[in-house]
């Protein structure tokens, strides 16, 4: 659970090729590769979101919170249970689906809060500079100095297990993370000539921010948020795993892993299935973030 870093973390693994190595066929292959790297993860994500949010509306899934203990430990592809049932007879596929809902709800909420509050603070800090910047940056530094998980744990535990509390606990980490990126990106832009031109032309401050700064830092914020979303989902899973996140009957991937821990040696699939779900989701987010950075990269 490492802090999501902007550009540095996943500095484009695909630097633009030198002119001399590009010829017609290679060019086409590269274009196809680039498109695939963008649309395959995007497609996977859309699929996952569809399964988690749309599928339950269309198909009636078995309950994800209670099950018949008679039918416990059913293997995958049993009638009525696509991925089988767990120790207590609860359907695994349903748990995955509803757990996915939780993961995305938390993740997206935290990201939105992060951008709204953190992004705003970051832009303000960079734009106004001076003591405003000093104060805001210090606050960010202090919050980031805390290991994210520890901070989230303490808060979530203190507030009590619930989805909302998890969101707030993780937001405490998400806000400074986005804030720093926003601040950095704004600083870069602030120095550019067109900014001076806008100021000299007498443009009002808020207009400058809205029309010049925001559109130009959006790419940074978006790619960062995609990576950040992956990290939030992992952190949320960690909280659930430890028991301080979503309370027990409500399904979540972390809970599933935690329950599967007991019978790890005999039936590892209870741990593996939610782990794989996590892996695919976060990998798709990471790859999409990579691809977008590649596309918007050379600024």
């Amino acid at each position: 659970m490492v802090a999501p870093l902007p550009d540095i973390t996943l500095a484009s693994p695909h630097p633009p090729p030198l002119p001399s190595l590009v010829n017609a066929r290679r060019l086409r292959t590269q274009r196809i590769g680039r498109a695939l790297r963008l649309w395959v993860p995007a497609g996977v994500l859309i699929l996952i979101l569809a399964i988690c949010f749309l599928l339950p509306l269309v198909v009636t899934l078995p309950s994800a919170t209670s099950g018949n203990i008679i039918y416990n430990n059913e293997p995958p592809f049993s009638p009525g249970h696509l991925l089988g049932t767990d120790v207590q007879g609860v359907d695994i596929f349903s748990q995955l689906v509803y757990g996915g809902q939780v993961a995305f709800e938390v993740g997206i909420s935290v990201t939105v809060i992060g951008i709204a509050i953190g992004g705003t603070l970051g832009v303000i800090a960079a734009y106004f500079g001076g003591w405003v910047d000093a104060v805001i940056s210090r606050v960010f530094d202090i919050l980031i100095a805390f290991p994210a998980l520890v901070l989230a744990l303490v808060i979530a535990e203190g507030l009590g297990p619930s989805e909302m509390h998890v969101i707030w606990a993780l937001a405490v980490f998400g806000i400074p993370a986005v804030g720093r990126v926003a601040r950095g990106a704004t600083l870069t832009i602030r120095g550019l000539p067109f900014m001076t031109a806008a100021r000299l032309a007498g443009t009002r401050r808020w207009r400058i921010i809205a029309r010049h700064i925001v559109p130009n830092i959006m790419p940074n914020i978006v790619t960062f948020s995609l990576l950040g979303l992956g990290i939030i989902i992992i952190l949320e899973g960690a909280l659930d795993f430890l028991g301080y996140g979503i309370p027990a009957p409500t399904p979540s991937w972390g809970n599933m892993i935690s329950r599967g821990q007991q019978i790890l040696s005999v039936q590892p699939e209870y741990v593996l299935i939610p782990s794989i779900a996590l892996l695919i989701t976060v990998a798709a987010l990471n790859m999409l973030g990579d691809a977008l950075r590649e596309r918007w990269g050379a600024q």
Partner: protein
């Protein structure tokens, strides 16, 4: 007639950019004799740097290189990188344009010089250090022993360029290529470095190839001059044949370059006759003479057919359908 030290015949370098072929160097030939100074003059994109890098083997792998470049009879162009590396830095050395960026900022300069030595010769560290300090003295670096342990950012631009020259001279090369070596320096330092290069050339009996866009530099220092445009040689002659009394510049492009040099004698407040337009897009070269679109004297045949580089006067080649009649003094 002395044996040619470096013989280049019909050198061609082609890149593939965006699916199209770019002939960066389109069949150039020249000879360099031991101890001689050759100046290759041209604008950016004329192919002057690319041709020398091709000879050194410094172009990215996979670039299409054709023709021949023989160093003392050894063909360089077909060699594997491992083979070429034996010559690179030892027989054939290069000094680059921007010494600030051409030296590794986190390595002491002494180490960067000894690296040039130890790559080609098996000597002890101590011996290499002694040789390196000698080299620094050779390039007239003040306080050579102290400078040996310093980092590039602690030196001025001129000093850094001296270090680059020391690196190039480490194994007593037979040919030294100076690629815009003085362009990034201020005028005084420029003169100092040029003088240094010429003195070294004499001392070490080295051939010097100067790449530049500055015709004045060629006039002052070169024995032979090649003018390149859009990948081709457009004029080639001994310096005496081009500049000074008795010199006659023929090709229109060379003439234009000469005219564009500001002179003190020219009356003030007159327009500087710069060469209008820009160098051609290498992916879309005009059908006839590449310079025709910018040439004041261009006629129809100039636009239609490519003029061949021919030796119209002994020792003096040019490629122009309507060359200057009286070249005039520089």
């Amino acid at each position: 007639m002395t044996d040619a030290l470096l013989q280049v015949d019909d050198l061609r370098v082609t890149f593939a950019i965006g699916g199209r072929e770019v002939r960066a160097v389109d069949g150039i030939s020249f000879t360099v004799s031991p101890g001689a100074t050759l100046a290759i003059i041209g604008e950016s994109g004329s192919g002057k740097t690319v041709s020398c890098r091709a000879i050194m083997g410094l172009l990215p792998a996979g670039t299409a290189i054709g023709g021949s470049a023989r160093l003392r009879g050894t063909e360089l162009l077909g060699l594997s990188d491992a083979e070429l590396r034996k010559h690179r830095g030892s027989d054939l050395a290069m000094v680059f344009q921007d010494p600030a960026r051409s030296l590794n900022p986190t390595m002491r300069i002494g180490l960067q010089i000894t690296e040039a030595i130890t790559t080609h010769r098996k000597v002890s560290k101590r011996e290499a250090q002694t040789q390196a300090i000698e080299l620094l003295r050779l390039v007239r670096m003040p306080a050579a022993e102290r400078r040996f342990h310093e980092y590039p950012h602690q030196l001025s631009g001129g000093m850094r360029q001296r270090v680059m020259i020391a690196i190039a001279l480490a194994c007593r090369p037979k040919v030294l290529i100076a690629d815009e070596a003085t362009t990034a320096l201020d005028v005084t330092t420029q003169a100092q470095i040029m003088e240094l290069l010429l003195d070294l050339q004499q001392e070490l009996d080295m051939a010097l190839i100067m790449i530049s866009h500055d015709l004045g530099l060629a006039a002052s220092y070169a024995d032979e001059v090649i003018v390149m445009y859009a990948g081709k040689i457009v004029e080639q002659a001994p310096a005496a044949g081009l500049f000074g009394a008795g010199g006659a510049v023929r090709m229109r492009y060379t003439r234009a370059l000469l005219d564009a040099i500001p002179h003190v004698e020219r009356s003030a407040h007159t327009q500087l006759p710069v060469v209008s337009g820009r160098p051609p897009d290498p992916t879309a070269l005009p059908p006839g003479c590449s310079f025709a679109p910018r040439c004041q004297y261009a006629e129809d045949d100039c636009l239609a057919k490519v003029p061949a580089l021919a030796e119209h006067v002994p020792g003096h080649r040019w490629a122009c359908w309507h060359p200057c009649e009286n070249g005039g003094a520089a």
